[in-house]
Symmetry: C2
Amino acid sequence: MKTYLECIPCFLEQALRAARVTNINDSKTKRLLSEIGLLINQMPLESTPPEFGKIIYGKIRMLTGKSDPYAKLKHKNIEEALRLYPCFQKIVHNSSQPLLTAIKVAIAGNAIDFAINTDYDIEKEFDGVIKSPFAINHYKMFESHLQKADKVLYIGDNAGESVFDKILIEQLKKPTIYVVREIPVINDVTYQDTIDSGIDKVATIVSSGTDAPGLVLNTCSNEFLKIYENSNFIISKGQGNYEALSDEKKDIFFLLKAKCPVIARDLSANGGSQPEADEPLAHTSGGNVSVGDIILKGIK
Amino acid sequence: MKTYLECIPCFLEQALRAARVTNINDSKTKRLLSEIGLLINQMPLESTPPEFGKIIYGKIRMLTGKSDPYAKLKHKNIEEALRLYPCFQKIVHNSSQPLLTAIKVAIAGNAIDFAINTDYDIEKEFDGVIKSPFAINHYKMFESHLQKADKVLYIGDNAGESVFDKILIEQLKKPTIYVVREIPVINDVTYQDTIDSGIDKVATIVSSGTDAPGLVLNTCSNEFLKIYENSNFIISKGQGNYEALSDEKKDIFFLLKAKCPVIARDLSANGGSQPEADEPLAHTSGGNVSVGDIILKGIK
């Protein structure tokens, strides 16, 4: 996805929010915003938002001197997610469509996103997502491609979310590689977080090599790119990975909740009103994508 | 009011919104945002937000080549307000407290603000405001100061709003000077707008001399500053004028609707929880100020 003009004020808002989390003083925060302001001129709108996000969060690391400002919050999220894990595992097991329900649980986990909102009610969020229809629902395609796949490449998003990704991976029943960021960026999942969340028990953990808040391929390691090229069934979680990968021509399924109007508009223009011919209508709103909608979108 | 860090991303959002209204292309809009980004570094947080607003809207005029990009919208707003005028004049006349009701009508008119939102339902807005309690209610002080005043200086805000200011001025029953911006900035009221709205029938129209979206005194004309200094009862409408004048030591009454969390917080810290001892409780929420609250605040 290209960077829209609306993303520019949002970059400054994100930087401000991150500065608040790291507790840096107003003078340093002003400096951070000034430095980002200076970069707007050089920011090509053709590049994806996480490419600029990489620069922003690099600046935050430099200004704060903290390599992982979100460490405490991530830890708290993982703990909270682990507390809810048995309950949602049971919901999936008791469901008449465990794979579909597990997808919804994994998307609900995507609500744990401090780049968007530091204040959320996780149990309410889960309940809402599980009861919601998809605004884009390519579940049938997902199911049939999964059957043919020999393995799954699963691109993680947030740290706490990875606990719920585990529930989905258990339902995929295929060897899975779970992809994490190379170093901490916002609350995105890193290698250490997967040990804490226990997802290392059900998947092989691999770093993408990137420090961008999305799988920006030209910032990934060669080792990872080889794995990526050889993958024929990819699951991409969250907005940042969607922004980075939405124009790829590979077999990627995007699982996310639309959290901002720009993403919702981009999704609407790219499949929002093209439901599958025989998709389960009970799970599809069928219209354009709005903020808050849940998405299961394959690249056609 | 000083500029808060949260105002910085908002300046970029306002610029983007104004660029959309003026229909300039993406490349020019990007240039506008870049130029504003470059200025963040030089922006002193001690100055008030409309001082920076003056620079932003000056840049928009230069980049678009349009001296009044909001002209059409202002005209439409005034027409819509004139359509509603007889109905709200009747509501005030039939009210048991016509002055208080007229104040609420004038605040409801403040909802017509395209710097904040280009999409609103004016009749719903009015109904909501008239039924709402004030979050800060210095009505008794307003009433007693008005009785003692020989004249009123009334600082206008938006163009459409001026139609409803007329209803309040009719209830003040004092000679009134109505203050307008020197040249068009956002949808703020100018001399020409007062002719269209008919407020020139009930007040003497005077330009402040400023082109800032708020009464920034150091950008006003000497002629206006003399009038301002000699005024002992001043009504200031809207957020922009509050931002510019909230630290003044004069007898100013601020009538506004809090439209952003920064203003709401600033108001909370400056009188939100200090109701008058004998104020009419039915018209006071009594707590902190939230976005959407209506305010009648005197400087104590």
